[in-house]
């Protein structure tokens, strides 16, 4: 059981590290948010659950913390992404399509 | 363990210096939020979880909100 918990924690930490690395490496804000949300959510989830498996008395509280992370992380990232779009951060040069204009027209119509 | 603690201390120092030299006050607020994040971990290493909890709640949530209200009342960029 101990080895299993250590393995899960290790995988979670590798994902956390990749998320941080992606935040450093990718070209513009939106891509960085993608890496910073997805990888860190699963990484933190696996790390916390792995600690809960290694110490069975802690499992319920660990699951509660993991649930809070799973719920709050997409919401805060979404708030930041929306703020960066409203404050006018442009896409990077490699982007292929931008349909934001359609959306703004739709907003004015309703 | 000493490697982790010394690395985190260096990170906290550089974030604090960054908060001092940024001209954009919003970025300075974000940097000071980061300082209090790392300070919470360091209190944790010093076996003081209650202080870490106070640092987390006050430093990350309350002080940030107060600074943001202050910036909204004045102006964002420093000359």
């Amino acid at each position: 059981m101990d080895v299993f918990g250590v393995a899960i924690t290790g995988v979670g930490i590798i994902f956390l590290f990749l998320g941080n690395f992606g935040v450093l490496r990718l070209p513009d804000v939106y891509n960085r948010i993608q890496a910073g949300t997805k990888c860190t959510t699963l990484g933190a989830f696996l790390t916390i659950v792995g600690v809960g498996i290694m110490e069975p008395a802690w499992l319920w509280k660990a699951l509660l913390i993991a649930l809070f992370v799973l719920v709050t992380n997409p919401i805060s990232s979404h708030a930041i992404a929306r703020a960066s779009r409203k404050s006018g951060v442009s896409l990077c040069d490699r982007s292929v399509v931008d349909k934001t204009k359609d959306f703004e027209e739709f907003r004015e119509k309703t | 363990m000493i490697f982790v603690v010394s690395l985190l201390t260096l990170l906290m120092l550089s974030a604090a210096i960054a908060a001092l030299i940024f001209k954009d006050l919003m970025s300075a607020v974000i940097a000071s939020c980061m300082v209090s994040l790392i300070a919470a971990i360091l209190f944790y290493f010093l076996q003081a979880p209650d202080v870490a909890m106070a640092e987390a709640s006050i430093g990350a949530a309350l002080v940030t909100a107060v600074f943001i209200i202050a910036i909204r009342r004045t102006k964002r960029y420093e000359e």
């Binding site: 994902f15 997805k38 990232s77 979404h78 | -």
Partner: protein, 173 residues
């Protein structure tokens, strides 16, 4: 103040949902089944859900049934598989030396009506491979896609939204 019959039953349903959620959180927080802790938890969640159940009326939570529970469990499993796939995808794109990304912003439509269903859909889209919800207005969602496969709205809706929507449509019908 007089209430109509459907509104009263709706409030009763919200009360039970809130009561069970608060009780489960309390049990996870204390992690003990001693009768004193348990009774304090029941008392606290009873008081809180009596006070707060009125605030959740406009969420439009559906009544509980066996079919909805089965579909919720299936939805959770599908979501978890998609989260793991998303992580492997992002990890591949980050590690690869040339960074094979093709980012863009597209618009998709949804057929869901309730606010809470739209919120769950938007958060699920955020956690699935390569897509991220930027904004939502009515039944239109603005999506950032890290590897654009189709610029057409209907095709994009089919690729991105359909795999969750077919579960959520049953749960919130």
């Amino acid at each position: 103040m007089a209430k109509t019959a459907p509104e009263a039953s709706h409030q009763r349903r919200n009360f039970f949902y809130l009561f069970f959620i608060l009780l489960i959180i309390w049990l996870a927080l204390t992690s003990s089944f001693h009768w004193q802790e348990f009774s304090v938890g029941i008392l606290l969640s009873l008081i809180l859900s009596l006070i707060l159940s009125k605030n959740y009326l406009k969420l439009g939570l559906p009544p509980i049934s066996l079919k909805r529970i089965a579909f919720s469990i299936a939805f959770t499993i599908v979501l978890f598989i998609e989260i793991v796939k998303a992580n492997l995808d992002v990890a591949y794109r980050v590690i690869h030396p040339k960074m094979p990304i093709k980012p863009g912003i597209v618009v998709i439509k949804t057929t869901l009506k309730q606010d809470i269903a739209k919120m769950i859909l938007a958060n699920s889209i955020t956690l699935t491979p390569g897509t991220f919800t930027l904004d939502i207005l009515g039944d239109t969602l603005l999506i950032h896609w890290i590897n654009v496969q189709s610029e057409n709205m209907d095709e994009a809706t089919k690729i991105i939204g359909e795999r969750f929507e077919k579960y959520l449509r049953v749960i919130f019908s």
